[in-house]
Subunit: 470 residues, 2 copies
């Protein structure tokens, strides 16, 4: 018992000395750094983000742009931001091309009749009511299809069987996703009547992964879809038997013209520089298959909870949570935001988007003017006890919704999440609340809270690489 | 290099001494025990079982009793047993009540419209074409429903939300499965118009688990179904909000009268006592949702491969592989086998069924006459190097298809598999080939090969607890 007591004292003393070691800065007062310490502890005990993502995924559910669920999501966000005491809560419209999925199914017709688990990509056309039925031709990669003769797939259904790599940072996504975005175009150019690919996925489960896709003017539109990894393996094995393999794909979907949704914005207003603001973002929409827990209910909840925690003592600059609309259909909310605010984007002193699930943050990277690097380092130092590494490249890209902001040279940050398992669930029916670990979620919120507080309260504001005004 | 060489020698010497230590027995000659050692090594290198289960699940796919897939499975088994050189290959008919699933879907109607992942249980009636729509009432267990007032569920859909325990030996299944087998009967007795339960499952994925169910004469038949665990969590959370929750269940299925399928039997004939035989079994049928890889393509492949390996040097007694029909609909193939062979079941010198996936065997248990225990112990001793424990209770129950054999007092054995993950996939669309680990499968085959060889070649035959003849 006595030994235990001494141990406790030692740990306490060590913790204190670490806290003190961190607590030296030209950019922050000791009082501020103590507040950051308290903030971390509060965040690590807070269930706020969990309660938010539970509420959003349960009481609203799927939120595909242009659906009743999307509308309910906007109403939910406005209500919750108000209930949390944000100083200002408002919406801004964003338009996008609507698309609706009615039904989808597929089956091997011969040689061994069996169902395939398939999903259409967003924007896919329908097949005829009876589906399309044709022989399958397999390609290992999109490049292999691109290099094939112009009539290589004449009258066939093209199947690209590229396997995505599992990776902490999601680096496998880029090489895999091209076949989703434009595989149907290349397949049609080679004479194909339908297009199906192995899901952009690292999963060992029988869920097909949806996602955005597009057509090209002048190229025949053909159905664009993915089967689960298990089904892709099966199709590959059937083809390897050497006999023709015929499948049927039946997708009923519809493009519905222009739709409107809303970015939902909540702001805690700064006391000294209210027009300057930290922007933390997620996107409110989701695909229709799951309840959008990881993508991106988590990001919504993390940023809302972090802002609430960080703004407990009124910050010098504003902290603005932007929940973007219609990200999944092509960053439409982010584009609308940039368009509307293009003359005041230099008011953003720091921006980060949470759109990579709900696992722990492992790294922190900036993309700022050299003069802002000491502040970035101070923020990183305060994240150290949360097991967050400082990534010193200063080339953070931010989340997908920050892409439209890039030309405007804002100070962007990456709170790098562990995405090892993210693509097991991404864009599937299996993206549900049970995939979120409440403890990891708390660590994630803590880093966003530290980031928001410190960026809002630094002695001098941070700027993008080229200082454009201010 | 020299040190390495000495290590190799040491390991070799130790292995030999272990092999010698095992190699003392009154029931087996040293030559036989050496053959068992070789057999193990061959089995641990053999891809035969993998190739068989790959072929069955790919070239045939789902094999629900009475479907074209079932018929194709029977043809596949006859062809493969012949190709493997079994001395006799034949089929025996088994009849069963046919049932077909056409479609199934469900959705929360209010308060938060969203799809539910549902599956009907075998034997379930259809709903009307538009489905049934009613308020949900939740019970934690079947017992809670049984104890509820007679009108507790009047006009409602009963939802039982019992959570199955994960367990190496599958002990969580028994308590969970009662709600599947007769939940709809009890729900109807309490006035319910529909029945849905949390899947009998340990999974964290959004697959509903099907399985057998029954109705009771005099009790109104209502639709009988399960939702995935993720959906059960969601429904529970929606109900916890305190407002009425209305769902729609739409199942289209049909009972089709009597069907016929076939037990497929392959035998390597014994040289000394051909009428006496070791029976190793799996079931050839599967549910319709997946390709029946774990349940029970694995068992089919394991027993076929083990017999082939064990019979390399002609055994004294016969080794018979029985691939039972229509197990999933109620052990119909096993019942037919017992009925047909009831006067010669005492010819069975040892019986084991593989019907618990494809993981490693961890234990070996007998259920035999005391005079046969030394042989059982010798078999267990030869399995030790495969990391198989001897379970000394002598109360092995065997697999499900051995249940109809129990009254006939046959020498039954349990080659106990690790089933920790089995109920993640059992009876779902996710039961596909990729869930089988080829290395674990080899260990599994090795134990069945050792078992088959030794039971067939023991000096004296083994008998059941009561010696009935011989």
């Amino acid at each position: 018992m006595k030994n235990q007591f001494i141990s406790v004292l030692l740990v306490a003393a060590l913790s204190l000395s670490f806290a003190r070691a961190e607590a030296k800065s030209d950019n922050f007062s000791t009082e501020q750094l103590n507040q950051v310490e308290q903030l971390k502890q509060q965040a690590l005990k807070s269930d706020l983000a969990w309660n938010l993502v539970e509420s959003l995924t349960t009481e609203v559910g799927p939120r595909m742009p242009g659906t009743p669920g999307d509308k309910a999501g906007v109403a939910w966000a406005v209500k919750k931001l108000n209930a949390l005491g944000f100083d200002k809560v408002w919406t801004e419209p964003a338009t996008f091309p609507r698309w609706i999925r009615y039904s989808e199914s597929a089956a091997v017709i011969s040689p061994a009749p069996q169902k395939l688990h398939i999903t259409a990509f967003g924007n896919s056309i329908s097949t005829p009511k009876a589906g399309i039925q044709a022989q399958v031709i397999e390609f290992e990669t999109l490049a292999e299809l691109e290099n094939a003769p112009i009539d290589a797939a004449n009258g066939k259904i093209v199947f690209i069987n590229y396997r995505m790599n599992r990776d902490r940072d999601g680096n496998g996504y880029g090489p895999a996703v091209q076949a989703r975005r434009r595989g149907a175009v290349v397949a049609a150019q080679k004479g194909a009547v339908g297009y199906v690919m192995r899901s952009v996925s690292t999963a060992h489960h029988r869920f097909a992964h949806t996602g955005g896709s597009s057509y090209k003017e002048g190229v025949t539109k053909i159905v664009s879809s993915a089967i689960s990894n298990a089904d892709a393996d099966q199709l590959h094995r059937l083809l390897a038997l050497g006999e023709p393999v015929t499948i049927n794909i039946n997708v009923q979907a519809k493009s519905m013209g222009e739709g409107t949704s809303y970015n939902v914005i909540g702001e805690f207003t700064g006391s000294e520089f209210p027009e300057e603001y930290v922007l933390i973002a997620g996107h409110l929409d989701s695909w229709d298959l799951g309840t959008g827990a990881l993508d991106n209910g988590a990001g919504v909840a993390i940023t809302m909870a972090a802002a609430k925690l960080a703004a407990k003592n009124t910050p010098k600059r504003s902290i603005r949570v932007v929940l973007f609309a219609a990200e999944e259909f092509g960053l439409w909310g982010a584009k609308a935001y940039v368009k509307k605010h293009k003359n005041s984007l230099s008011n953003i002193v720091a921006a980060a988007e949470s759109d990579f699930g709900a696992d722990k943050i492992w790294g922190f990277e900036s993309n700022v003017h050299a003069s802002a690097l000491p502040v970035a380092r101070d923020i990183a130092a305060m994240m150290q006890s949360l097991n967050v590494e400082y990534v010193g490249r200063n080339e953070a890209r931010g989340g997908p919704d920050l892409i439209p902001f890039r030309p405007f040279n804002i100070p962007a940050f990456e709170l790098a999440q562990d995405g090892t398992d993210y693509f097991d669930y991404h864009h599937t029916a299996d993206d549900t609340l049970d995939k979120i670990d409440p403890e990891k979620l708390r660590q994630n919120v803590a880093t966003y809270a530290v980031f928001s507080y410190m960026a809002a309260n630094a002695k001098t504001r941070m700027n993008g690489k080229k200082i454009t005004n201010n």
